[in-house]
Symmetry: C2
Subunit: 269 residues, 2 copies
C-alpha cells in the first residue's frame, strides 16, 4: 500500500468519520460506521450499501489484505491510520483493526410492494431490540424491515452489532410512517397484523385457521407503550401472542421471533 | 412504623446486603437482591421464595404501605433506611424506594420429573439472555428452567430484571448438569431436544410430524460455542431452527422463543 499513515486526530477525514458516532452526525451525512472485518465484509457484499471509506490500523493491514482489496474494488477509499487514530473511530472496545464509513443506497417504497413478509417497528426505542429483530427478520426470510419516526437509530453501533450482519442482508427503511406502510402494504395485497397483549385474535387461532400463509406486514410496538393507536387503526387485525404461563408479556424480540417464524412456516408449507 | 431509620452505610445489615451485589456474595449467603416494588411483590407472592429483609427508603414508606405489610406478614424484617443508604444497595439507577433480600427454597429434582415442558441452559453466559429465556419459558408455560455450571448467575441484577418477574413464577434450578437433567428427564418420559445450527432435524419437520406434543426438555447452548458435546450426546435429537433468509443464525433468546412456542402450541392442540 502506498498511502501515508494518518496519525493526526485532526485530519479532516478522521473528524468527518468521528461525527458519525452520533445520531445527528449520521443523519446529516446519511452515512454510518461499521466496525470489524465481519461487518465490513457484509457491507462490501451488500448491493444496497456502499463502503465509502475504509480505515485500517497499521498493524491490521497485513491481516486484512483481501478485505481491503475488495473494498477498494467496490470504490472505497482506503486509509491506513495509527492505532491511536483508529481507536477514536470505534464504538466498541475491539474494532479489530478496521472501521468503514458506509452509505445506504436510497430504498424506494417498492421494496414493500413486492414483500411477502415484512416488519414495521413502531417507535421501538431500544437499539438492541431493533438489531435483534432485524436479525430475526432476516433469519425468517423477511423481505423488509421498516422503522417509524421515533424508533432507535438502526445505524447506531449497538444496533449494527445486534443485527449480526443482517442489516446488510435485507432492505431497512427508516422514517416510514405507519400510514405510509399500511397503504403500501394494502396496495401490495399484504395483510397488516399489529401485535398487542390485548389483541382480539390469538396467534394460535391464526395458525390453526391457516391465515398466515398470505403476504403479511407485522407491526410491533414500543417496549413501553405497545403499538400506537394509529397502528391499531391501520391494521387488519390486532393479534396477541398467547401467554400460557404466568408471565405478564413477552419481550419484544421474543414476540417478534414467534410471530415471524409462524408466518415463515405457514408461507412455506 | 416504629423502627429507627438506618442511615449508616456501616450498619451490619447494610454491609451484609451489599455483599449480595456480587456473585460470590450471593453464592455464600444463598440469597439475592430484588429491586423495586414490582419484583418485591412477585417475590412475596412466590411460594418458592422467601423475602428475608425489606429495605425501604424514608420517602417511599408511605407509597408502599401494602407491600410492606404483606412482606412483614410473610416473615420479612422491614428496615427503613435513608435514601443514601438505599442507593448503596441498588444495581439499577432507580430501585424505586425498595430493595429486598430474598432466599430461594431448595428445589428438588422432582420438579423435572413432573415437567411437560422444561428448559436447560448449557453454559449460557449472558445474564440478559438468561433472564429473557426465563421470561419466555414462563410465557410458554414451561414447568422449569435449569442452568448448568458455567452459566450466568440467574440472581444477578441484570438477569432478575430481564426476567421481568418470571424468575418468581417457575422453578429455576442452578448447577444442574446436562447428564443429571437428561437422566431425570428420561425417567420422567421427557424427550431431550438440543438445538444447534447443524442439527440433524429441522424444527419444521418436528412440527409437521407432530413430534412436539410429547413432554420435552429443550437444551440451548452458549452464545459463543453452542451446545456442548455432552449435551449432544445426552439428547434424543439435535434440532436446528431453519434459517429461511441470509442470517447466519438466530440469537439465543429468539431461537428459544421459536422452539418453546412450537412445543407449547403442539402440547395444547
Amino acid at each position: 500500500m502506498t498511502e501515508s499513515v494518518i496519525s493526526s486526530p485532526h485530519n479532516s477525514r478522521i473528524t468527518a468519520a468521528r461525527a458519525l458516532l452520533t445520531r445527528n452526525g449520521r443523519s446529516k451525512a446519511s452515512a454510518f460506521l461499521a466496525e470489524g472485518p465481519h461487518a465490513v465484509a457484509e457491507a462490501v457484499a451488500s448491493s444496497r450499501h456502499q463502503v465509502r471509506e475504509l480505515f485500517v490500523a497499521t498493524d491490521a493491514e497485513s491481516r486484512h489484505g483481501s478485505l481491503i482489496a475488495s473494498a477498494r474494488e467496490g470504490g472505497a477509499a482506503v486509509h491506513v491510520v495509527s492505532d491511536r487514530v483508529l481507536r477514536l473511530l470505534r464504538d466498541t472496545v475491539t474494532p479489530q483493526g478496521v472501521v468503514a464509513v458506509i452509505t445506504v443506497r436510497p430504498e424506494a417504497g417498492e421494496a414493500l410492494a413486492a414483500a411477502r413478509l415484512a416488519v414495521l417497528l413502531d417507535r421501538v426505542a431500544d437499539p438492541g431490540n431493533v438489531g435483534t429483530v432485524v436479525r430475526t427478520a432476516d433469519a425468517a426470510g423477511a423481505d423488509l424491515v421498516g422503522l417509524t419516526p421515533g424508533s432507535a437509530d438502526v445505524y447506531s453501533g449497538k444496533c449494527v452489532r445486534a443485527s449480526a450482519g443482517s442489516l446488510f442482508h435485507l432492505p431497512v427503511v427508516t422514517d416510514l410512517t405507519v400510514d405510509h406502510a399500511a397503504v403500501a402494504a394494502g396496495a401490495a395485497g399484504c395483510r397488516v397484523l399489529a401485535t398487542a397483549a390485548d389483541g382480539e385474535s390469538s396467534l394460535d387461532d391464526l395458525i390453526a385457521d391457516d391465515l398466515l400463509a398470505a403476504p403479511t406486514l407485522w407491526v410491533f410496538g414500543s417496549e413501553a407503550h405497545g403499538v400506537s393507536d394509529t397502528a391499531r387503526a391501520a391494521s387488519d387485525l390486532v393479534v396477541r401472542v398467547p401467554i400460557y404461563g404466568s408471565a405478564e408479556s413477552l419481550n419484544l424480540a421474543a414476540a417478534a421471533a414467534v410471530c415471524l417464524y409462524a408466518s415463515a412456516r405457514a408461507q412455506r408449507r
